[in-house]
Amino acid sequence: MNALRAQKKDEVSVVLCGEAGQGIQTVEQILVRYLKLSGFHVFATKEYMSRVRGGSNSTQIRISSKRASAYLDRIDILIPFHQGGIKHVEKRITPETIILGDREVISKDSPLEVKEFIDIPFSKIASDIGGRIYVNTIAAGVVLGTIGVEQHFLTNFIREFFSKKSEDVIKRNIDAIKKGYEVGTQILNSGKIEFTIRSSPRIKDENLLNGSEAVGLGALAGGCKFLSSYPMSPSTGVMVFLSQQMEDFDIVVEQAEDEISAINMAIGASYGGARSMVTTSGGGFALMIEGVSLAGMLEIPVVIHLSQRPGPATGLPTRTEQADLELALYSGHGEFPRIILAPGNLKDAFFLTQKAFNLADKYQIPVFVLTDQYLIDSLMNLPLLDISDTRDENHVVKTHKGYKRYELTEDGISPRGIPGFGEGLVGVDSDEHDEEAHITEDLILREKMVDKRLKKLDSIKKEIVPPELVGSSNYRVLITGWGSTYNVVREALQELGREDISFLHFKQVYPLYEGTRDYLQKAQKNIIIENNATSQFGKLIKLYTGMDIEAKILKYNGLAFSVEEVAAEIKKILGKEKV
């Protein structure tokens, strides 16, 4: 085996491959947490099958000196935990990939699949310590030793990590991590592997979050008091996170009988005066659509976290896609305003979710936070979220006698009262209604009410979140993207190192930023990148700017883009045209 000749010695990409239920998540958690506390930048992303046991899943952990939070094809260290693990990631293995594996497991693979590897008798070491289950902790130790991370607080860390277990189990895990670390150190000392990843003490104080937590914290910052949802991957994490905050944060989290109930409850809570949200994914959101229309008609705020996964129908339940933009955009019968936000990274996920609550309340409309499995399941360090940048806005008024819920106003926004707060009465109606919310078939009034609702768009358009231009404003080539592709495109452009290429990332996809056309027109070559098959955002851009972005980088096999893939696709497009 050659010494690792990774192009970037200041970072390492470790891939763990195992069956569902084998515990690679434990390895991931130990590694990511310990490494982050040791001052390294970490990023973990997983792809997994829709099953509780068996199959083949993998987790990538990037450990680096610089912030690197995107999916990479490259594997520097591969640990296959099960037979077939190597085959599962075969296409990503290069001669430089170091495989650390148990001969007992790997030898069961067919000869074609078996690559050169460093034999580590995981099972044997584990059974000496006390059982198969310790393989995970041993493996974490091996990785830490191999990359030469200091171990001075490792024992305490493991003690705390397993603090809910018995003393015996804790001790065995400490033995396991030490033994693994020893094995790793031997590999490191053998000179087969060399890394110089620099740590920085500042990272220790940064946040370590996944996407669900970032959205959940954003909801808390946005004043969310009520969440009702029905479990559905990959959106459930937000409900789980908020459920755990119920005691401390005065929030009701209710698992509804179905998504129809969930959104109708959320709208009811909001009518009652509590900021509310739902979290769901494509199929569940399909059931909520009557509620989106209801929120539009009642003019009741609701925040919808829609975490995308590939469809149609059940699709690929545990995988990723950006194919529900049009669904969100056109959901709900009739015409009414809405806002669609699309976080690019975890910081965006926090701030935009928080902002979504203010926007929903201010304009009394449904506001979407559109994420996907890739963003929601990514775990990484990021600078500590600063809540002094968040705003508590109040858009509820105390009612007086004679209060009219749908008073016709200049800007279409009627002061919103809630029942039991003030002397007025608050009615809302899903039928076309008069100013007091009573059913009407006065067709002149109908027109006025439609105009009133749509007029809110004028104000909404004045505060669209502008797209972020990454790179020089003197670009010749402009890559346009939205949502979760932010980090991967950013890193791909660094990789390409061409100053004439910039990236325009949209964090609000609807209403579309009014200066979009200017950005696109400035470029000699426009390229759009989307994790879907039909370039849904491209179509939206064409609709509102008249500009058709013909060069498209699209991916819809259920996986997120990798850095290498994006760089190669850009090169391919530009190579053809010699821009």
Partner: protein
């Protein structure tokens, strides 16, 4: 308190002359006034259908939502503001057909709301198709050979789920209906009141006369705390009993169970959030 406080004045009511809805509207206003519930502290939540128009004839807070969906918003309104009296009211098609799953789960969830169902055994708004409670053999333009689906039995369903309060009334009997409604609204927990009501336009079988002849009131010796007896009464077919079938006073409510009111009784909706410090601590803990 006079039931006048709920009156809308001179308004156009969209129901057919002679419709049972008129009596229910009147008797509900009386029951609420007798209980001293003020219009400002009441929310009427309804779905879609003839019965679901009731909030438009009522001077109070209201949420006239979607077909079949009165219960979910009513549940949420109550939990974010338990100081409000919340009534979810619609017809049999809305509550038992389109909204059936919500009814089942509201019984399990047990919010302290009253669920009034106008049961005329037919669809009115869509002009005369079968409803979940239409009797076998009932002919309509769609069920041309007559209904062959087993009629939905809301009372048996509710009792089987150990519902907190289960009753049946008849819109033709003002006094008894008022008494049942008052008890239902005062009851702590989910209270289902199914109200038989003739549809003068689309149901020529289950008329006022038919209900008179085919119902009887549970007598004074009947014990509404006995679930098995209640179930037996609920499945009687010959003559249909009226009254309070079942009560379980020992159930905790949704509002009590969610936790936000354990230490603080102030309605969640009206609470000023003091989250910044806690949130800052939570963010710092995620390291």
């Amino acid at each position: 308190m006079e039931s006048q406080v709920f009156e809308m004045g001179d308004i156009d009511i969209a129901w057919c002359p002679g419709c049972g809805n008129f009596s229910i509207l009147k008797v509900l206003k009386q029951a609420l006034s007798e209980l001293g519930i003020k219009p400002e502290k009441l929310v009427l939540v309804s779905g879609i259908g003839q019965a679901a128009k009731i909030p438009h004839y009522f001077r109070t807070n209201f949420f006239n939502g979607l077909h079949g969906r009165a219960i979910p918003p009513a549940t949420a309104i109550k939990v974010v503001n338990p100081d409000l009296a919340v009534i979810a009211e619609s017809g049999d098609g809305d509550m038992y057909g389109e909204g059936g799953n919500h009814l089942i789960n509201a019984i399990r969830r047990n919010p302290d709301i009253t669920n009034i169902v106008h049961n005329n055994m037919v669809y009115g708004l869509t002009k005369g198709q079968a409803s979940p409670t239409s009797q076998i053999g009932f002919k309509t333009p769609v069920q041309v050979k007559g209904v062959f689906l087993e009629p939905f039995n809301p009372l048996a369903l509710a009792i089987s789920l150990d519902a907190s309060f289960v009753a049946r009334a008849f819109s033709g009997d003002i006094e008894q209906t008022k008494e049942i409604l008052e008890q239902a609204i005062s009851h702590k927990g989910f209270a289902l009141v199914d109200i038989f009501q003739p549809c003068v336009t689309f149901n020529k079988v289950n008329t006022h006369k038919w209900f008179k002849e085919n119902t009887y009131y549970l007598d004074k010796s009947y014990d509404p705390l006995n679930r098995v007896a209640a179930f037996q009464k609920a499945v009687e077919r010959e003559k249909l009993p009226l009254g309070i079938f079942y009560r379980n006073d020992k159930k905790s409510t949704f509002e009590e169970n969610v936790g936000v009111y354990r230490q603080n009784k102030e309605p969640l909706a009206l609470r000023k959030l003091e989250r910044k410090n806690k949130l800052s601590d939570l963010i710092k803990s995620k390291r």
